[in-house]
Amino acid sequence: MKFRYDVVIVGAGLAGMRAAIAIAEKNEDVSVAMVSKTYPTRCHSVCAEGGTAAVFDKEDSLDLHAWDTVKGADFLADQDAVELFVSECPKEILTLDAWGCPWSRTEDGKIALRPFGGQSLNRTVFAKDRTGFHEVHTLYERILQYPNIEIFSEYFLTGLIVENDEIKGLTAIDIKTGELTLFEAKAVILATGGAGRLYGFTTYSHNVTGDGMAVAYRCGVPLKDMEFFQFHPTGLVPSGILMTEACRGEGGYLLNKDKERFMKRYAPEKMELAPRDVVARAMWKEMIEGRALEGEHGLYIALDLTHLGEKKIKARLPLIREAAINFAGIDPVEKPLPIKPVAHYTMGGIHVNKNCETDVKGLYATGEVACISIHGANRLGSNSTSECLVFGRIAGENALDFVLNKDFKLVKEDEFFEEERKIEEIFNKNGSESPYAIKKELNEVMDNYLWIFREESGMKKAVQKIKELKERYKDVKITDKSKSFNTDLIYTIEIGYMLDLAEAVAVCALFRKESRGAHYRLDYQKRDDVNWLKHSLAYKTADGVKVDYAPVTITKWEPVERKY
């Protein structure tokens, strides 16, 4: 099968859908295909709970939002991109309002704001605690109105076709039929989301396996700052399902086994609302030093919402309550919830500039798959959904400009056959290794050695172990030899993607000899701006990962010590 569209967007999450709309709003004639492995309303973005950052408060300012973001990022964010980002957030919120997003409101009918970690003022716009769900549905509903956007659901990206550093198209498996499909395109926008399933204990949906990152990486596009993974303080034990930061934003406490609000010893001013890296480290320390609680699933910290009362919990945190009851059998109105830090956000990603451009002409990346970077070494809560909206639009608009007055570049038959051959090769694999066993071991490596506290010997072990897993993966067995809806094949390809990404994470982390934001090393506990105020760029080469570095853009804010 072969299709041809001016712009092909891979990924129908917040970022991909926002990009599609941006194109269609400006131009009715440019054809857009939105290709994704799930139906749009099933994307991971529906899980976003707490909210979306934007300056609305009279006391607030764009500069303050930018400063909070830069400081939260431990100064690794590119400040020109951050300034652009904060200036565009409010507009996106109002646009979504006009498209039907059910934002929570103040009594006088204005858009309500809630506090969030590391944000100086109330700056988080929200729709109860189902913000991402409502944003996704709003964008999806909007998309239905544009005749030039075609939706291809359950198509799985397998390769990009690039010639002379210019994009020509991509291949994807039509999951329903199993057929490899060619999409010729003048421009491609990758919006495939993060890579959180590298970890075992994670808030992410099952399908968030970093596919777009891996596919781009395999085509020679570098990945930036992959060592920076965010650990969210409050993952429900044992499932890892997120208990939003809004729980603490609305006044919830973190307690150790002595019922102490231990954050007072780590971040006396911001307490539970310090940035996530700070809170997660504090919790992990409490756990290691014997001050955590213990239950049938091991150590945990208590998230206490009981003092908020049923009325507030019902009004502001209904999803949290429902999830806690369904998945932990506990009603937060009555009892504290068992939680612990959990892998939650991929700060790193495809290296792009603030126009979402990669070094391949016509290839863009946006949303969590991309690293622009506005989050640097640690993302602030509620900045990610804003990023998807702002930079989804920017990616769409830039891709549109790019395709106007451009011709298609023909994809040669051989190029397609080469992609087909690669998939056949995996499909025919009849080795002795279970892909699922490999995935499980990979998750263990990540959870053990690339978690909140890292050190040299552990990371070396991780690099070694990942190499071994990659070897074993070559001898994998695909049991399902049918064509239609072969998830055995799809999952196995995803696991292959994850192995490549894990290697990049481990190598970049091992090389970075300092502690910054979410990358915390027991053997180098201080930030080192003299040597390490720079982005890592991982390239895939025949001899493994090659790491290069790029400068951080500083406009207004010189790095200072980070206190909360």
């Binding site: 799930t38 139906y39 309303t41 099933r42 994307c43 991971h44 529906v46 899980c47 109002l94 309002d97 006009a98 498209w99 039907g100 059910p102 934002w103 929570s104 409101r105 103040t106 009594e107 006088d108 009918g109 204005k110 189902r130 769900f133 409502h134 549905h137 509903e141 909007r142 239905l144 109105q145 659901s153 329903k176 949906s205 099952h206 399908n207 499932s239 399902i241 997120l242 999803l319 429902e322 999830a323 369904n326 998945f327 279970s434 892909p435 699922y436 499980k440 049991t479 399902d480 049918s482 239609s484 809806f485 072969n486 998830t487 055995d488």
Partner: protein, 222 residues
């Protein structure tokens, strides 16, 4: 402790029942992964968020359409649990059904905000609550599976979506929407099974009745 999963399989040609032993202390979805990763990796099912919000994993569990991710096996209080794909959808493979038609039908109901006015929008919490409940549909298809007439009409979900926008104070498209619905909502005979199974308790049956009344009034020019 273990239970037996009896799963209705379909491989594109024939359909048959398969049995697996799974641990009891997990959700139905976790047990499906347990089977896929440890016993039979050819088993096909859909699963994404595993927290009851993406709407992917609705299947029939002991005949009732439910979300696999939200269902704790122990709560079913059965030693043998039957899993089947949703009804009223074509089966693609095992527990996976074809949703293309479902999403196409959604579109007929104009489930989006129609608004020509520009400028700042105000909406009070009270106005928000007028429609908020109906925003919660996760498009899982459980209602369609339970509906005896779904194949002949829109099915409950799109009507809920339309109703949500009809009640939104920001919307200016109610008439357009009622017109669009007027050919599609008369088959329902209020069996109300959809309301029984909706995992988000949206009472689609009640909504269908309300919307019918509105369409009637609209058609009569009241």
């Amino acid at each position: 402790m273990e239970v037996i999963f009896r799963i209705k399989r379909f491989d594109g040609g024939s359909s048959y029942w398969d049995e697996f032993k799974v641990p009891i202390n997990m959700t139905v979805l976790e047990a499906l992964f347990y089977i896929k990763e440890n016993i039979d990796s050819t088993l096909a099912f859909r699963a994404f968020c595993r927290m009851g919000i993406c709407g992917s994993c609705a299947i029939r569990i002991n005949k009732k359409p439910m979300l696999a991710c939200e269902t704790q096996i122990s709560k079913l209080e059965k030693e043998t649990i039957e899993l089947e794909p949703l009804k009223n959808f074509n089966v693609i493979k095992d527990l996976v059904t074809d949703f293309e038609g479902f999403f196409k039908k959604q579109k007929l109901a104009k489930p989006y905000l129609i608004r020509k006015s520009k400028g700042e929008i105000q909406q009070t919490p009270k106005q928000l609550e007028e429609y908020y409940k109906y925003t919660l549909c996760i498009k899982c298809g459980a209602c369609v599976s339970a509906c005896p007439v779904a194949k002949r009409c829109l099915g409950p979900a799109p009507v809920v979506a339309a109703h949500r926008f009809n009640r939104d104070s920001r919307d200016e498209g109610k008439e357009e929407r009622l017109k669009a619905l007027s050919d599609h909502i008369w088959h329902c005979h209020f069996v109300s099974d959809c309301s029984e199974v909706c995992p988000k308790n949206l009472h689609p049956a009640e909504v269908v009745q309300k919307v019918r009344l509105e369409v009637l009034k609209f058609n009569l020019g009241w």
